[in-house]
């Protein structure tokens, strides 16, 4: 390849690319581990930004036709560090790097999470994610996936949130263990550890095994995506961890998980007609997760918890798309492409709007020091820039055109509807899925309306809201960029979809035609509709403002009384009608009455996550019970121990004698 008149060997360029990606991050880790000062922390973070910036070029490099395969020149106990990047991986790496970079920029600017340790761990997380996505060896994949878990765990330390972090760590590790077993099994069947040589193992595995493996892999990665019942860690961790950790977890790490699920299911295992039953099981889990996330998000008190449930819902939709892809792929490849494109597009979109919203919400908490959504309000007048970017994020999450969230949900429903419904039991299932997706979408929209309305709109509900600290300088920049991405990806979604479709075609090894566009309606709709919305609003606004009488600012109408801060609808009250409608699902709404004085009485409504109450706690108690039983065997009496030796000896001898 010739660059600026110089000729380079392809291998040199590839090696240079990997070096340029990995080395700054490595240097960052080392620097961050050694130094402590804030200045160095900025250097460390900027090294991370450099790495991200280089890895953004992954897709362009792939596009130039370079074979992005590289083996690091250092062997390890788990074999060689083999990296290989295919088209889909390249897409995801490039895109995730952009998000990662913007988040790190925000870290630097906001300084709330800075510090050498944090920045060094960011570098480590970047490396882990990069190597996980590009891993070409099973063990490297498992190693880096666990490393992602570890670094996010370390990154999530803030104050006294040990329990929340631990919950995450333990559940994620359980998932990791499942993955280790699943991948080991596949490696033993494939006879090689090199992932790029795994090609359609399902014929060798037999379909029962393949189905079990697909389930194990979806659930294994699903522990980080928050699939039911592994979502219990999400709300607490999102609420207590440093926000950038939560953001990375919700965006980049989810992208990694989704990518790995896609690659494993569609490329390594390979889908055959016999595998559809497992897809139905996954559909059920995904739908249940989505509904659960939507339901729980309605009653959350803390904005970050609400966003955690929203992440759960969004990721469940992506998994749903993947499962539908499995169902469609045999009968109608074009539709399968469409639904997979929808899923991947939603993954990308989610990482944009979710990072925007999480960081915006954190800015709110940072500026006001308030964490309870019920005590917020009226920030749009005091923090106008923030409220402007946040409304775009909210619109994107609520899937309102012309944002990117709309496009992916639109595609999703299209692919659901376009299903060839004459076949199998699908005809009954599809309407149900459709209904569930519809209800989820509207419930989430309700949550988002509540989120925005009770934080930015209305009158302030507490002192802190009246005079928030101004935003830190420069923090608006990454947020604005993300907001611009929300709009841009909404308008120009087709370009991204084409790339994703091509990646999926090459991943699955399907014939490129019929393309996904053949089953899709309104190819230009995102662009046309989006432009139409924006243009019409602009024209109407402009036209209407001309010749209008000047407005008058008046106090909010209050039936003649003076409005105090409690005379506003409360955030819990806002969704209360819905809670009443879906009451059985919330199970227990605990009402705590505290009598402080003889006259003052506070009523607090608490929503306990039923999964924690009815699944995790009893399970924990059971395990502890069993362990304590076993613990009783250690009596402290040495005679008992001798007895164990004697019994062991006798039993072993007997066993050997008998068998």
């Amino acid at each position: 390849m010739d660059v600026l008149g110089f000729h380079f060997q392809d291998t040199v360029i590839v090696a240079g690319f990997f070096a340029a990606t990995l080395v700054p991050a490595l240097v960052g880790i080392v620097l961050g581990a050694i130094f402590k000062s804030n200045k160095v922390a900025n250097v460390v973070a900027s090294l991370c930004i450099v790495s991200c910036a280089v890895s953004v070029s992954t897709y362009p490099l792939w596009h130039l036709g370079l074979a992005l395969e590289y083996t690091l020149p250092i062997p390890s106990a788990i074999g060689e560090y083999r990296l290989a990047i295919d088209q889909l991986t390249a897409c995801m790496i490039s895109f995730s790097s952009v998000i990662f970079m913007l988040i790190v920029v925000h870290v630097v600017k906001s300084t709330s999470d800075s510090g050498c340790r944090y920045s060094a761990l960011l570098n480590a997380l970047f490396l882990a994610c990069f190597s996980c996505m590009s891993a070409d060896s099973v063990l490297v994949l498992l190693f880096s996936w666990e490393l992602v878990t570890l670094t996010t765990f370390l990154l999530s330390k803030k104050g006294n949130n040990d329990h929340a972090r631990w919950m995450f760590f333990a559940i994620a590790h359980l998932g990791g263990m499942v993955l280790i077993c699943a991948y080991s099994f596949m490696a033993s069947v494939a006879g090689t550890q090199v992932l790029s040589q795994w090609d359609g193992l399902s014929s060798a595995l037999g379909h029962w095994t393949s189905m079990a493996l697909i389930m194990a892999i979806v659930m294994g990665f699903g522990t980080k995506l928050g699939l039911i019942p592994f979502h219990a860690w999400m709300p607490d961790l999102y609420a207590t961890a440093p926000i950038h950790t939560a953001t990375l977890l919700s965006t980049v790490c989810s992208n990694v998980a989704i990518l790995m699920v896609f690659k494993t299911v569609f490329s390594y295992i390979g889908i055959t007609a016999a595998l559809t039953p497992i897809a139905f099981a996954i559909v059920i889990i995904a739908v249940a997760t989505a509904l659960w996330g939507a339901l729980e998000s309605l009653v959350q008190r803390e904005p970050k918890k609400l966003l955690a449930y929203s992440s759960m819902e969004n990721m469940a939709l992506v998994v749903l798309c993947m499962a539908l892809g499995i169902i469609y792929i045999v009968e109608s490849p074009a539709l399968a492409k469409l639904v997979l494109v929808a899923g991947l597009l939603h993954t990308l979109n989610h990482s944009v709007f979710k990072s925007l919203m999480l960081m915006s919400i954190d800015t709110v908490e940072d500026c006001t020091g308030e964490k309870n959504i019920g005590r917020m309000g009226g920030l749009s007048r005091t923090l106008p820039a923030l409220s402007a970017v946040a409304i775009i994020g909210i619109l994107a999450m609520a899937a309102v055109p012309p944002t990117n969230g709309f496009v992916s949900e639109w595609l999703m429903i299209q692919s659901l509807m376009g299903a060839d419904l004459e076949s199998k039991g699908m005809s009954l299932v599809i309407p149900l899925i459709l209904a569930a997706v519809g209800i989820c979408g509207m419930m989430m929209a309700a949550s988002y309306a509540r989120l925005y309305g009770f934080i930015f709109l209305g009158r302030p509900r507490s002192e802190a809201m009246e005079n928030p600290r101004p935003m830190k300088r420069g923090t608006i920049l990454p947020l604005a960029l993300l907001a611009a991405l929300c709009l841009g990806m909404g308008l120009f979604a087709m370009t991204i979809m084409d790339v994703l479709a091509a990646s999926i075609v090459s991943l699955i090894g399907m014939p490129p035609s019929p393309g996904y566009r053949s089953v899709m309606s309104g190819e230009l709709l995102p662009l046309v509709l989006g432009t139409a919305v924006v243009a019409t609003v602009a024209v109407l606004y402009w036209a209407s403002k001309r010749g209008a009488q000047p407005e008058r600012e008046v106090p909010t109408w209050s039936c003649g009384e003076d409005l105090d801060e409690n005379m506003q609808y409360s955030s819990i009250g806002f969704t209360q009608p819905l809670v009443k409608v879906f009451h059985p699902f919330y199970g227990d709404t605990t009402v705590v009455r505290e009598t402080k004085d003889s006259k003052v009485r506070t009523v607090i409504i608490e929503f306990v996550e039923p999964f924690v109450k009815y699944l995790y706690k009893p399970l924990g108690a059971l395990l502890t019970g069993i362990s304590e039983r076993i613990g009783k065997t250690q009596t402290g009496n040495i005679q008992t121990y001798f007895a164990y030796v004697l019994i062991t000896l006798v039993v072993t001898l007997l066993a050997v004698r008998v068998f």
Partner: protein, 220 residues
């Protein structure tokens, strides 16, 4: 001597060892217990001597002598010294009563026969019994450690199990290479000395050598 006589003698000594073991399980007092141990060790020495004679293996003579010196004379002396120093109460405390212990011992003997059956058929007659008996003595030694509460009885149990072991080792292969035997003896001796030291410490710390008192170390 007559080979039949020697082989009979070998059997007799081996059986006597088992007998002393069983009797030891039945004894409720400390001093008879130690005496029974001395007796058992003596039978072991006699057994070794007979085997040495019949096989004409000089190093087994040495072993017999060592057994006699260490196990019949030295160790009992030490045990008695320890008992005198820490004024052990002669009463044994049992966690399983004597009838129960007897039944258990019988069970273990039967078990030894059952388990060693495949081994035994490959051996010559005189080795057979000795091997089964050595199994039984070892298991009964462990049983004594399991059911007797005092530190000293635990030691005696261990020593009896070791006697069984030597019985088996010699019956099977005329003893191991000399260096092993020597090492084993030194090991035993050292163990007893060190155990003795700790028995003193236990007595000092707990005012008793009843090891049931030693049960603070466990999970809450």
């Amino acid at each position: 001597m007559d080979p039949i006589l020697t082989s009979n003698l070998i059997d007799i000594f081996a059986v006597s060892m088992l007998l002393t073991s069983v009797l030891a399980m039945a004894s409720a007092r400390m001093r008879p217990l130690i005496k029974l141990f001395v007796l058992q060790s003596f039978f072991l020495a006699a057994f070794e001597f007979t085997v040495a004679y019949s096989q004409d293996e000089p190093h087994i003579y040495v072993m017999a002598a060592m057994t006699f010196g260490i196990k019949v004379i030295l160790i009992p002396r030490m045990l008695q010294y320890i008992m005198a120093r820490i004024r052990v109460d002669d009463e044994l405390s049992l966690s399983v009563g004597i009838p129960g212990s007897m039944l258990l011992s019988t069970g273990l003997i039967l078990f030894s026969y059952y388990v060693s059956e495949p081994l035994v058929i490959t051996l010559t007659t005189e080795e057979r019994n000795s091997l089964v008996l050595s199994f039984a003595i070892m298991l009964i030694g462990l049983q004594m450690m399991t059911t007797r509460r005092k530190a000293i009885t635990e030691v005696v149990g261990l020593l009896m199990a070791e006697n069984g072991l030597f019985l088996g080792a010699i019956a099977l292969s005329n003893g191991m290479p000399f260096i092993v035997e020597l090492g084993a003896f030194i090991d035993v001796l050292m163990a007893i000395i060190i155990i003795g030291i700790f028995a003193f410490r236990i007595n000092k710390s707990f005012d008793s050598v009843d090891t049931t008192l030693l049960r603070r170390l466990k999970e809450e």
